[in-house]
Symmetry: C2
Subunit: 140 residues, 2 copies
Protein backbone atom coordinates (compact mmCIF):
# COMPACT_ATOMS: atom_id res chain seq x y z
CA UNK A 1 0.00 0.00 0.00
CA UNK A 2 1.35 3.45 -0.90
CA UNK A 3 2.07 6.06 1.78
CA UNK A 4 -0.82 8.08 0.36
CA UNK A 5 -3.27 5.15 0.59
CA UNK A 6 -2.10 4.45 4.12
CA UNK A 7 -2.74 8.07 5.12
CA UNK A 8 -6.22 7.96 3.55
CA UNK A 9 -7.19 4.63 5.17
CA UNK A 10 -5.44 4.80 8.53
CA UNK A 11 -4.82 8.50 9.08
CA UNK A 12 -6.56 11.01 11.31
CA UNK A 13 -6.91 13.71 8.64
CA UNK A 14 -10.30 14.09 6.99
CA UNK A 15 -9.34 14.24 3.31
CA UNK A 16 -12.59 13.66 1.40
CA UNK A 17 -11.90 12.17 -2.02
CA UNK A 18 -14.25 14.18 -4.23
CA UNK A 19 -14.98 12.67 -7.65
CA UNK A 20 -14.44 14.36 -11.02
CA UNK A 21 -17.65 16.34 -10.45
CA UNK A 22 -16.42 17.47 -7.02
CA UNK A 23 -18.81 15.26 -5.07
CA UNK A 24 -18.80 12.56 -2.41
CA UNK A 25 -21.67 10.11 -1.96
CA UNK A 26 -23.59 10.57 1.28
CA UNK A 27 -25.81 8.03 3.02
CA UNK A 28 -28.18 9.46 5.61
CA UNK A 29 -29.60 7.03 8.14
CA UNK A 30 -32.18 7.54 10.84
CA UNK A 31 -30.26 7.78 14.12
CA UNK A 32 -33.18 6.19 15.97
CA UNK A 33 -33.99 3.21 13.73
CA UNK A 34 -30.91 2.70 11.53
CA UNK A 35 -33.06 2.87 8.39
CA UNK A 36 -31.46 4.35 5.31
CA UNK A 37 -33.36 7.58 4.62
CA UNK A 38 -31.62 8.72 1.43
CA UNK A 39 -28.52 8.60 -0.71
CA UNK A 40 -27.35 11.96 -2.03
CA UNK A 41 -24.19 13.97 -2.67
CA UNK A 42 -22.19 16.74 -1.04
CA UNK A 43 -19.59 19.01 -2.56
CA UNK A 44 -16.91 20.62 -0.44
CA UNK A 45 -19.16 23.55 0.48
CA UNK A 46 -22.11 21.32 1.46
CA UNK A 47 -19.81 19.22 3.64
CA UNK A 48 -18.36 22.31 5.32
CA UNK A 49 -21.80 23.78 5.97
CA UNK A 50 -23.05 20.47 7.33
CA UNK A 51 -20.13 20.29 9.76
CA UNK A 52 -20.41 23.96 10.74
CA UNK A 53 -24.18 24.09 11.25
CA UNK A 54 -25.04 20.55 12.38
CA UNK A 55 -27.75 20.42 9.73
CA UNK A 56 -27.49 18.46 6.49
CA UNK A 57 -26.64 20.37 3.30
CA UNK A 58 -26.36 18.61 -0.04
CA UNK A 59 -25.45 19.37 -3.63
CA UNK A 60 -28.16 18.59 -6.16
CA UNK A 61 -26.72 17.05 -9.32
CA UNK A 62 -29.91 17.76 -11.29
CA UNK A 63 -30.28 21.37 -10.16
CA UNK A 64 -26.51 21.91 -9.88
CA UNK A 65 -27.07 23.80 -6.67
CA UNK A 66 -26.23 23.71 -3.00
CA UNK A 67 -29.28 22.85 -0.99
CA UNK A 68 -30.11 22.87 2.71
CA UNK A 69 -32.18 19.77 3.36
CA UNK A 70 -35.68 20.91 4.24
CA UNK A 71 -35.29 24.51 3.05
CA UNK A 72 -38.51 24.19 1.00
CA UNK A 73 -40.30 21.37 2.81
CA UNK A 74 -39.28 22.11 6.39
CA UNK A 75 -38.19 18.47 6.69
CA UNK A 76 -34.71 19.19 8.06
CA UNK A 77 -32.02 16.78 9.26
CA UNK A 78 -30.06 17.36 12.47
CA UNK A 79 -26.73 15.60 12.21
CA UNK A 80 -25.87 13.34 15.15
CA UNK A 81 -22.69 11.79 13.75
CA UNK A 82 -20.57 11.97 10.60
CA UNK A 83 -18.37 9.09 9.51
CA UNK A 84 -16.18 8.52 6.47
CA UNK A 85 -15.18 5.25 4.86
CA UNK A 86 -11.82 3.58 4.25
CA UNK A 87 -11.03 5.42 1.00
CA UNK A 88 -12.83 8.60 2.09
CA UNK A 89 -15.04 8.84 -0.99
CA UNK A 90 -18.29 8.24 0.93
CA UNK A 91 -19.80 9.81 4.03
CA UNK A 92 -22.34 8.30 6.40
CA UNK A 93 -24.41 10.73 8.45
CA UNK A 94 -26.72 9.61 11.26
CA UNK A 95 -29.51 12.16 11.53
CA UNK A 96 -32.59 13.13 13.44
CA UNK A 97 -35.05 13.50 10.58
CA UNK A 98 -37.88 15.98 10.99
CA UNK A 99 -40.86 14.37 9.23
CA UNK A 100 -40.02 12.86 5.86
CA UNK A 101 -36.67 12.64 4.05
CA UNK A 102 -38.17 11.85 0.63
CA UNK A 103 -39.60 14.46 -1.76
CA UNK A 104 -42.52 12.06 -2.32
CA UNK A 105 -43.55 12.65 1.31
CA UNK A 106 -42.34 9.31 2.68
CA UNK A 107 -40.07 9.00 5.70
CA UNK A 108 -37.37 7.25 3.59
CA UNK A 109 -36.67 7.31 -0.15
CA UNK A 110 -36.40 3.52 0.08
CA UNK A 111 -40.12 2.74 0.27
CA UNK A 112 -40.10 -0.20 -2.16
CA UNK A 113 -38.63 -3.69 -1.80
CA UNK A 114 -37.36 -5.68 -4.77
CA UNK A 115 -38.92 -9.13 -4.81
CA UNK A 116 -38.44 -12.07 -7.13
CA UNK A 117 -41.48 -12.91 -9.24
CA UNK A 118 -41.16 -15.81 -11.63
CA UNK A 119 -38.02 -15.20 -13.69
CA UNK A 120 -38.19 -11.45 -13.05
CA UNK A 121 -38.70 -8.95 -10.26
CA UNK A 122 -41.38 -6.63 -8.99
CA UNK A 123 -41.44 -3.84 -6.44
CA UNK A 124 -43.53 -4.02 -3.29
CA UNK A 125 -44.35 -0.88 -1.30
CA UNK A 126 -43.22 -1.01 2.33
CA UNK A 127 -43.15 1.73 4.99
CA UNK A 128 -44.65 3.89 2.23
CA UNK A 129 -47.11 6.04 4.15
CA UNK A 130 -46.94 9.68 3.06
CA UNK A 131 -46.19 12.12 5.90
CA UNK A 132 -46.89 15.14 3.69
CA UNK A 133 -48.50 15.92 0.36
CA UNK A 134 -45.71 16.80 -2.10
CA UNK A 135 -48.08 18.71 -4.39
CA UNK A 136 -48.98 21.01 -1.49
CA UNK A 137 -45.44 21.35 -0.13
CA UNK A 138 -43.61 21.92 -3.42
CA UNK A 139 -46.53 23.82 -5.05
CA UNK A 140 -46.09 22.03 -8.37
Amino acid sequence: MSAHSHEIEEGLAFLPNFDAAGLVTVVATDAATGDVLMVAHMNDEALRKTIATGEAWYFSRSRKALWRKGETSGQTQRVVEIRTDCDQDAVWIRVEQIGAACHTGRRSCFYRKVEVEGSGTRLVFTDAERLFDPDAVYKK
Copy 2:
Protein backbone atom coordinates in the same frame (compact mmCIF):
# COMPACT_ATOMS: atom_id res chain seq x y z
CA MET B 1 -44.40 15.16 -12.98
CA SER B 2 -43.97 13.32 -16.29
CA ALA B 3 -45.56 9.92 -16.88
CA HIS B 4 -42.05 8.45 -16.92
CA SER B 5 -41.13 10.00 -13.55
CA HIS B 6 -44.40 8.79 -12.11
CA GLU B 7 -43.67 5.25 -13.28
CA ILE B 8 -40.16 5.39 -11.79
CA GLU B 9 -41.28 6.80 -8.43
CA GLU B 10 -44.68 5.17 -7.94
CA GLY B 11 -44.58 2.10 -10.18
CA LEU B 12 -44.09 -1.56 -9.39
CA ALA B 13 -41.49 -2.21 -12.10
CA PHE B 14 -37.86 -2.37 -11.00
CA LEU B 15 -36.17 -0.12 -13.57
CA PRO B 16 -32.73 0.65 -12.13
CA ASN B 17 -31.41 3.94 -13.44
CA PHE B 18 -27.77 3.09 -14.22
CA ASP B 19 -25.45 6.07 -14.60
CA ALA B 20 -23.25 6.84 -17.65
CA ALA B 21 -20.80 4.16 -16.45
CA GLY B 22 -23.61 1.60 -16.15
CA LEU B 23 -23.66 1.62 -12.35
CA VAL B 24 -26.02 2.18 -9.45
CA THR B 25 -24.83 3.13 -5.97
CA VAL B 26 -25.38 0.43 -3.36
CA VAL B 27 -25.49 0.86 0.40
CA ALA B 28 -25.06 -2.34 2.41
CA THR B 29 -26.26 -2.26 6.01
CA ASP B 30 -25.96 -4.86 8.74
CA ALA B 31 -29.41 -6.47 9.03
CA ALA B 32 -28.83 -7.03 12.75
CA THR B 33 -27.54 -3.61 13.85
CA GLY B 34 -28.52 -1.19 11.07
CA ASP B 35 -24.90 -0.01 10.76
CA VAL B 36 -23.75 0.99 7.30
CA LEU B 37 -21.13 -1.57 6.30
CA MET B 38 -20.05 -0.22 2.91
CA VAL B 39 -20.99 1.90 -0.09
CA ALA B 40 -20.19 0.33 -3.45
CA HIS B 41 -21.59 -0.09 -6.96
CA MET B 42 -23.39 -2.70 -9.01
CA ASN B 43 -23.77 -2.93 -12.76
CA ASP B 44 -26.70 -4.77 -14.31
CA GLU B 45 -24.93 -8.14 -14.11
CA ALA B 46 -23.95 -7.69 -10.44
CA LEU B 47 -27.52 -6.76 -9.59
CA ARG B 48 -28.91 -9.78 -11.45
CA LYS B 49 -26.45 -12.14 -9.76
CA THR B 50 -27.23 -10.65 -6.35
CA ILE B 51 -30.94 -11.20 -6.89
CA ALA B 52 -30.47 -14.68 -8.33
CA THR B 53 -28.01 -16.00 -5.74
CA GLY B 54 -28.97 -14.13 -2.56
CA GLU B 55 -25.33 -13.16 -2.11
CA ALA B 56 -23.93 -9.70 -2.79
CA TRP B 57 -22.04 -9.12 -6.05
CA TYR B 58 -20.54 -5.76 -6.92
CA PHE B 59 -18.72 -4.05 -9.76
CA SER B 60 -15.32 -2.65 -8.86
CA ARG B 61 -14.73 0.73 -10.50
CA SER B 62 -10.98 0.55 -9.88
CA ARG B 63 -10.54 -3.01 -11.16
CA LYS B 64 -13.34 -2.67 -13.74
CA ALA B 65 -14.51 -6.15 -12.83
CA LEU B 66 -17.49 -8.00 -11.46
CA TRP B 67 -16.76 -9.23 -7.97
CA ARG B 68 -18.53 -11.58 -5.59
CA LYS B 69 -18.18 -10.05 -2.13
CA GLY B 70 -15.91 -12.32 -0.12
CA GLU B 71 -14.56 -14.33 -3.07
CA THR B 72 -10.99 -13.68 -1.86
CA SER B 73 -11.52 -12.97 1.83
CA GLY B 74 -14.37 -15.37 2.57
CA GLN B 75 -16.27 -12.45 4.14
CA THR B 76 -19.50 -12.93 2.18
CA GLN B 77 -22.81 -11.09 2.47
CA ARG B 78 -26.13 -12.92 2.52
CA VAL B 79 -28.84 -10.59 1.29
CA VAL B 80 -31.89 -10.32 3.54
CA GLU B 81 -33.71 -7.52 1.70
CA ILE B 82 -33.19 -5.33 -1.36
CA ARG B 83 -34.81 -1.90 -1.67
CA THR B 84 -34.61 0.82 -4.28
CA ASP B 85 -35.11 4.55 -3.84
CA CYS B 86 -37.57 7.02 -5.35
CA ASP B 87 -35.64 7.67 -8.55
CA GLN B 88 -34.23 4.13 -8.69
CA ASP B 89 -30.58 5.17 -8.97
CA ALA B 90 -29.60 3.74 -5.60
CA VAL B 91 -30.07 0.36 -3.95
CA TRP B 92 -30.10 -0.47 -0.24
CA ILE B 93 -29.32 -4.05 0.72
CA ARG B 94 -29.71 -5.36 4.25
CA VAL B 95 -27.22 -8.19 4.70
CA GLU B 96 -25.95 -10.80 7.08
CA GLN B 97 -22.25 -10.04 6.98
CA ILE B 98 -19.84 -12.92 7.58
CA GLY B 99 -16.93 -11.37 9.49
CA ALA B 100 -15.77 -8.04 8.12
CA ALA B 101 -17.09 -6.01 5.20
CA CYS B 102 -14.02 -3.80 4.86
CA HIS B 103 -10.82 -4.79 3.05
CA THR B 104 -8.92 -3.31 6.03
CA GLY B 105 -10.33 -6.10 8.18
CA ARG B 106 -12.91 -4.01 10.02
CA ARG B 107 -16.56 -4.94 10.32
CA SER B 108 -17.61 -1.71 8.52
CA CYS B 109 -15.73 0.58 6.14
CA PHE B 110 -16.99 3.48 8.28
CA TYR B 111 -14.58 3.05 11.20
CA ARG B 112 -13.77 6.75 11.64
CA LYS B 113 -15.92 9.61 12.90
CA VAL B 114 -15.44 13.19 11.75
CA GLU B 115 -15.12 15.52 14.72
CA VAL B 116 -14.72 19.27 14.91
CA GLU B 117 -11.36 20.41 16.27
CA GLY B 118 -10.79 24.14 16.53
CA SER B 119 -11.60 25.60 13.12
CA GLY B 120 -10.99 22.27 11.37
CA THR B 121 -11.76 18.59 11.70
CA ARG B 122 -10.06 15.40 12.73
CA LEU B 123 -10.96 11.73 12.44
CA VAL B 124 -11.48 9.52 15.48
CA PHE B 125 -11.38 5.74 15.20
CA THR B 126 -14.56 4.02 16.37
CA ASP B 127 -15.65 0.38 16.10
CA ALA B 128 -12.28 -0.08 14.42
CA GLU B 129 -11.18 -3.48 15.73
CA ARG B 130 -9.71 -5.64 12.96
CA LEU B 131 -11.45 -8.99 12.50
CA PHE B 132 -8.81 -10.24 10.07
CA ASP B 133 -5.32 -9.29 8.96
CA PRO B 134 -5.57 -7.90 5.43
CA ASP B 135 -1.92 -8.67 4.66
CA ALA B 136 -2.56 -12.34 5.38
CA VAL B 137 -5.92 -12.53 3.61
CA TYR B 138 -5.01 -10.65 0.44
CA LYS B 139 -1.41 -11.90 0.38
CA LYS B 140 -0.01 -8.47 -0.55
